[in-house]
Amino acid sequence: MPESSPPLLELKKITVGYRQPVVSDLSLAFGRGLFVSLLGANGSGKTTLLRTISKHIKPLSGQAFINGQALDDIKPANLAKILSVVLTDRSSAPMLRSLEFVALGRHPHSDFLGRLSDRDLTVVESALAAVQGANLADRFVDELSDGERQKIVLARALAQEPTLLLLDEPTAHLDLRHRLEILAILRRLCRSRNLSVLAAVHDVESAAKVSDLTLTIKDGKLTAFGQPETILTPESVRELYSCPQANFDSALGGLEMASDGQAGRAFVLAGQDTGALMCRLLAKRGYALVTGFLHASDLDAHVATALGARVLTVDAKPAPGSATPSEKPLDKIDPDFNFLFDQAIKELTHCDLLAVAPLSPATPESLIQIRARLWERAKSLGLPILELGSNGDLSPIIEALDRLTPAHSKVAA
């Protein structure tokens, strides 16, 4: 695409809303072939913005342009050939086979009587193929599962042959498999058909993983617009949803809920990549966490940090949350890990519990020593010790936790 061509969608200081402004002074532009996700809390105006772009409602001020043409000047019948929508409305049409449902999307292209030409049918065929829904063609739409139905709804939108596809929460109510499937299909369409997707997405994890660009709306303003890798940080996500417990890990692209620490404090001796699971389990039970001894770049360390844990790292510069930790092992500087041990003992005295994961095979001798000394100290402090066997079976740990926090087990029973 030449540099000079206008952007596919451009918003210039647009204010959207019904009578009162919901989102004000929003400006942005993007081209073709991109997956753009729209993030914001419930009621932040995601749907209102989409409805304005789809011309369902008029902007209160400002202007929208599609391919450089003002939205006001595009006739609805022509707009329908450029832009199609997938709404949250569970559009149920009774007694309509999937193929007929998808063919409804040919409306802007078919003749006055709505007769389908051979080309129309070819497009319908390819739309069904694009969503891997050819096997659903004969089924009635209202007999489909939520996931299958969403594919057909998407295929209908594709049958309009849009260059801009607007979707309002396309994966709401879908199970994991269908959520991933729909997102993968959308991503593929961006590449293969060179169309752009603008989707209001409710879960930040999916948005981070699939989108090329992300825009976030908060308090009636566009708060960020750019690559999700740069704009989605733990702070910005917490801020976006006004949710202080949420810890977004940009490396993993996942959300963890920090523990409130009501059940007490637990020390987790991590190892063999089981630390992450143990930490999450304890955080769910309400324990504040301390964990060691890890490289800051370990998976365990990422999860533990996101869970709000204090992580004792074996890196030269213990810098929790730092993006580029030094991977140089501490034992090259401080062979006995004395410094680490002192820290750990101090933490342990404030803990109510010690959880121990099996050792990973490559653990240096000095670290094994420290673990043993820590274990002894916990015993002498009278702390309950939960030890995970080398088979990684978490159920004994869960049973032990049930005994420690009986209130929880009652709920479970």
């Binding site: 409804l104 709505g114 193929a129």
Partner: protein, 348 residues
């Protein structure tokens, strides 16, 4: 694993099945029309009926019965049934609601109100110069009065559900006035009025047939031509708008066309219940689709079939006593709809 889809073959297969259903319904309509001409308080053999039909200027009892009584009635039944069914279909699609029928917006109540004015009060006595068409004109004024009100309100109200409630309220309002008039009326006038309120295709005059054919036929043709945007409405107004349909204009068209058709039939035949509500469902089930390009003509034919059959039963069951058509449509139609729904596990 992925099934290979040939959309052309697929649609051709569906279409050929549907064409078969069309032929079947068309044949049924013709058969029922002929039966309706043949049988009655005096029945005539088929050949005699055909001879009379080919010789309109003849004389005699048979000629009178066929040309003045049975043929107008048969035509009125066919057209009335077709129009009511299409009217119901339009409103069911527009409101996306399966229990909507042509009278949901108060059309029949408006007609009934004005008819009660002329039939139950002494008002009718002063209007003797239009006597033959008195109830028809009153019904027409009532139906279209309500229609104009509803459409005017529809221009202000966006929500379909709100409009439904407005229509229901109109119905109650008119019903209330009618009840008061009934309470005050003389006893002997009431029976006639109650019978009118149950509908009948008897006593149609050729003028009325002409009006019904020209106006109703015109409206139905317009509806056939606009089944494409009607299909877009299957997904709701929002999707229809996103596919380039002018929602405002089209919803007014739907409301006016549906009410005008229902009003036309009601003013001449009285409120014939059930056809407009049930036939669209029957059509959906027999054609196996919600595609209005098929359903609109399909509902027409099926409406004609069902109404003709019901009129035949109404005339013949307790012959020579004629039963009100609404009683028959509901008595025989309701179990049929329930049965179809259960058997096909169909969803509205």
């Amino acid at each position: 694993m992925e099934a290979v889809l040939n959309a052309k073959l697929f649609t051709r297969r569906l279409t050929s099945r549907r064409i078969l259903v069309f032929y079947l319904l068309f044949a049924l309509t013709l058969t029922l029309m002929v039966i309706n001409l043949c049988v009655g308080s005096i029945s005539f053999p088929l050949q005699q009926i055909f001879e009379t039909l080919l010789n309109p200027s003849g004389s005699g009892d048979l000629n009178f019965i066929v040309w003045k009584i049975r043929l107008p009635r048969t035509l009125a039944t066919v057209m009335g049934g077709a129009f009511l069914a299409v009217s119901g279909l339009l409103l069911q699609v527009y409101f996306r609601n399966p229990i909507v029928g042509p009278f949901i917006l108060g059309i029949s109540s408006g007609a009934t109100l004005l008819v009660s004015l002329v039939m139950l009060t002494s008002l009718g006595l002063r209007l003797t110069y239009v006597t033959p068409f008195l109830t028809t004109i009153a019904g027409c004024l009532g139906a279209y009065g309500v229609m104009i009100l509803v459409v005017a309100i529809a221009a202000k109200v966006r929500q379909g559900a709100t409009l439904l409630i407005v229509g229901l309220m109109m119905g109650y309002l008119c019903g209330a006035v009618t009840s008061i008039l009934t309470a005050l009326a003389e006893k002997e006038k009431i029976k006639g009025f109650v019978l009118w309120g149950m509908g009948s295709f008897s006593g149609f005059k050729w003028v009325e047939i002409g009006i019904l054919a020209v106006l109703g036929g015109g409206l139905v043709m317009a509806i056939f031509l606009l089944t494409k945007p009607l299909n877009a409405f299957l997904l709701g107004e929002e999707y229809a708008a996103s596919m380039g349909v002018n929602i405002r204009r089209f919803r007014l068209f739907i409301l006016i066309a549906a009410s005008a058709l229902a009003g036309l039939v009601t003013s001449m035949a009285g409120p014939v219940a059930f056809i407009g509500l049930a036939v669209p469902h029957m059509a959906r089930l027999s054609f196996g689709t919600s595609d209005n390009r098929i359903l609109a003509p399909g509902a027409c034919l099926l409406g004609a079939v069902v109404t003709s059959l019901c009129d035949l039963i109404a005339r013949m069951w307790l012959n020579p006593v004629e039963l009100p058509i609404s009683a028959i449509t509901a008595f025989f139609g309701a179990p049929v709809v329930i049965g179809l729904l259960i058997k096909k596990g169909a969803r509205m």
